[in-house]
Each structure stands twice: as structure tokens, then as C-alpha cells.
Amino acid sequence: MEIYLDNTATTHYDTRVIETMVPFYSELYGNASSIHKAGKRPAEAIEQARQIIAGKIHCKPDEIYFTSGGTESNNWALKGVFYSNKQKGNHIITTSIEHPSILETANWLGEHKAKITLIPVNNQGFVDVDDIRKAIRNDTVLISVMHANNEIGTIEPIGSIGTLCREKGILFHTDACQSFTKETIDTEEQYIDLMTLNAHKIHGPKGVGALYIRKGSRCEAFIHGGGQENNMRSGTYNTPDIAGFGKAAEIASEEDVQKMSLLRDFFISEVSSKLEGVFLNGPVGGKRLCNNINLRFSKVKGKSLFTELNKRNIIISAGSACSSTRLTPSHVLTALGLDEESAHEGVRISLSKWTNKEELDYVIHHIIDIVDDLRKK
């Protein structure tokens, strides 16, 4: 038996998603841009997916642009706004705990005349809206703050940040890859101008995502060519994956969120009560993503716990990333103020809608066993 608890990295496909996709790999193979009969059903499927996704975030379907995934959408948001707003300025504000697809894109733009300000976070990973307010300049063109952090699950106050951006006339982008369908998102109420979404975190296919761009927001086209996606993102439509993305969004439910939240809190409480020296990275309760658990076990390297669990067919994520030859501490955990040794102790355990209590009881039993053992060595 394998227990998969790395659902922040990716999720198992939902069978209903696969069933939706299969016809577009076989009899409905037509190009969705073609005006002949073969293109009709694929085009319908794409528009249906667009409507479903738009409905989930309260925007217009025409404001959804399909991409190859979250990384492309994040690249597009930053580069597109930067190159389209040069007459206004070149300053971009983001945070120190963003996904690498934001941080590396910001770095690259920094080498191309952009000015980048990274806002720090507190010890639970929250950004302070006042820090953003203070960082705003006359030449600020974009503020990008992730909705929920992928490592520690902190849910950022995007409504307050959106309100600030609207007051100041600055475009607001949020990376919602982890929170999409798990948290309420309303582009109108939260004043979101651009938003990154993807499918494979919600039991949909890999290699497909979307960028929401509010109508009227200045953002350059990202890929030029055949004119797909209203001339903003050309390329032959990936119909099966887009249809699957729509289905995955459609079947995501509030009940799943409630169930994962309860299991998350059960797991944290059980492990903390049964072992000494357990620390939670990130906040407790409602301001934490429903499926995210990130713990540190003092005197136990996260990689060692990860390896031992892996041998027992329990799949989690170590907090440290493997660069070419050595482990580097997570930039998110160090941004919380943890020293390198503590950051290496972090592990991330992320649930799915199919995770159940019996599995978690089994995992807790093995974690206690392994941590006790590793601490004796």
C-alpha cells in the first residue's frame, strides 16, 4: 500500500477528468480553431471549460486565457505587465516567499531594467499590508502576492492587498495555484487584476493552466502566432487538457475542503501530542490552506524522515530542495526567520480529497517510530 501525501506537488487524476479528456484524444481530435465540423466539439469543450473556471473566480469567461500551467502564467503576468506599462514605471513589488516562477522571473526582469522590491513576511508567513503600502512608489506598476503559500499554507490577505492596489491604481496579481477551489476567490470583491491558476493541483491534468486578466488591464501578449486566446497566447489548443481542467474545477467541492481541514487539524494535533519537539511552520486554523501540514521535528533532518517514510511507501516532501549536489534550505522556511539547521528539519505533508483518517493514523504511527529512532542515533 502506498500513501501519497504530496498533493501540493501534484494530485492523482480524478477518473471523471480522464473520462472527459479521452474523446479529445480519439474521435474528437479536431483543431479547436478550425471552422469546419471537426473543430466544433473541441471548441465547445474549451469554451465550456472557460465558463466553468470563470464561474469559480467570479470573472468573465473572456478574461480567462489558457496557458501551459502555473509557471507560464506567472511568467506572463510579470513580464506582460512590465513590458506593457513602461510609460508608467518599472517597479514591481512581490514577496520573499513566492514560488520560484515569480522570484526567478522577477530576478530576470531585474536584469532588464525592472526595479524589484521583495516584501518580507512574519514568522507565520504573513505579509503585512502596511509593508506593501510603504514600498509603493510613483513608478510601481505591479504588486504580485501569492494567495496561499505552497510550502507552509499561509493564506495571504489578498482582499486587503487588492483594495490597496485599487486605491493606488496599481495592477494586482495573485498566484492562486494552491488555493484555487480550496479558498473563496472573487476577482470583483478582492480587486484582483491578474491571477494564476492551474489544473494538476486539483486532480486535473498537468501541462495546463490559465491566467485571468481583468478586461482593460494593460498586459502584453505572451506567445505570438496564430492568434488563439484573443491574440494574447497563440498556439494550437490543447483541447484534452483544457477540457480536463474545466472538469476538475467543476467537481471540486466545499465538502472536500471541510474534510481536508478537519484531517489537517487532527494530524497536527495528534503528532504534536504524541511527540516532543514538534513545531508547526505556518499558521493554525482558518488562515492555513486546508490540505497543508508543514512540521519540524527537532534534531531530525527532514530529508532523513522523508527517506525513511519513502521506504515504508509513505510519500511526503522534505522541506529542503536538492540542488545539483547538496540540499539547500527552503527559501520559505528561512524567510520565516528559521536558521539553516531548523529549516532542514521541515517536512511538508499535503492531503487530498481522498486522504482518510485510517491512512493518517498509519502515517502518524510510522512518524513516531522513525522520529524516535532517528533521535536515538
Binding site: K303, T307, N310, K311, C322, S323, S324, T325, R326, L327
Partner: protein, 81 residues
């Protein structure tokens, strides 16, 4: 010197995790029963991860491991079946 003569050599110096493990398993998957693959990996994380990935498989056995030049290690892996 190694006690075993290798049938093939796979140099994974500079190949990051987890691509190094995947390439090792791909190479081993194309070899015949009884053959031996010598794999060169970097010290550090690759030395932890590549052997661990191989040992998870029932079909292969790491029969020898030596420190190589600089920050490298040599693994000799036998295809069991």
C-alpha cells in the same frame, strides 16, 4: 580498483536529482540479466539518492561502491533479472 568488470559505464557527474536516478534506472532497464553497470555520481545528495532509488528496485543490486576522483563516487550495479 573495482573487483568487478563493468559491461557499461554511465557518467552522471553534474546531472541533478532526480534526473540522475531516472537515467540510471533507464540505462539498467535496457541491460541484460547478469550484466554490470558502473555509474559515476557526484558526492552529496546524488550519492544518497541514486543508490536509494536503485535499491528500491528488486531487479538490481549495488555490488560495490568506491570513492572516485574529486567529489565523485563509482557504483557497480548488477542486473539480477
Amino acid at each position: 580498483m573495482a573487483k568487478f568488470k563493468s559491461d557499461e559505464i554511465l557518467d552522471l557527474k553534474g546531472v541533478p536529482c532526480p534526473r540522475n536516478s531516472a537515467r540510471a534506472l533507464l540505462k539498467l532497464g535496457g541491460m541484460e540479466e547478469g550484466e554490470i553497470l558502473e555509474i559515476i555520481v557526484d558526492d552529496g545528495e546524488p550519492l544518497e539518492n541514486v543508490p536509494a532509488s536503485i535499491e528500491e528496485e528488486d531487479n538490481y543490486k549495488i555490488i560495490e561502491k568506491h570513492k572516485g576522483e574529486g567529489h565523485t563516487w563509482h557504483l557497480w550495479v548488477k542486473v539480477l533479472r
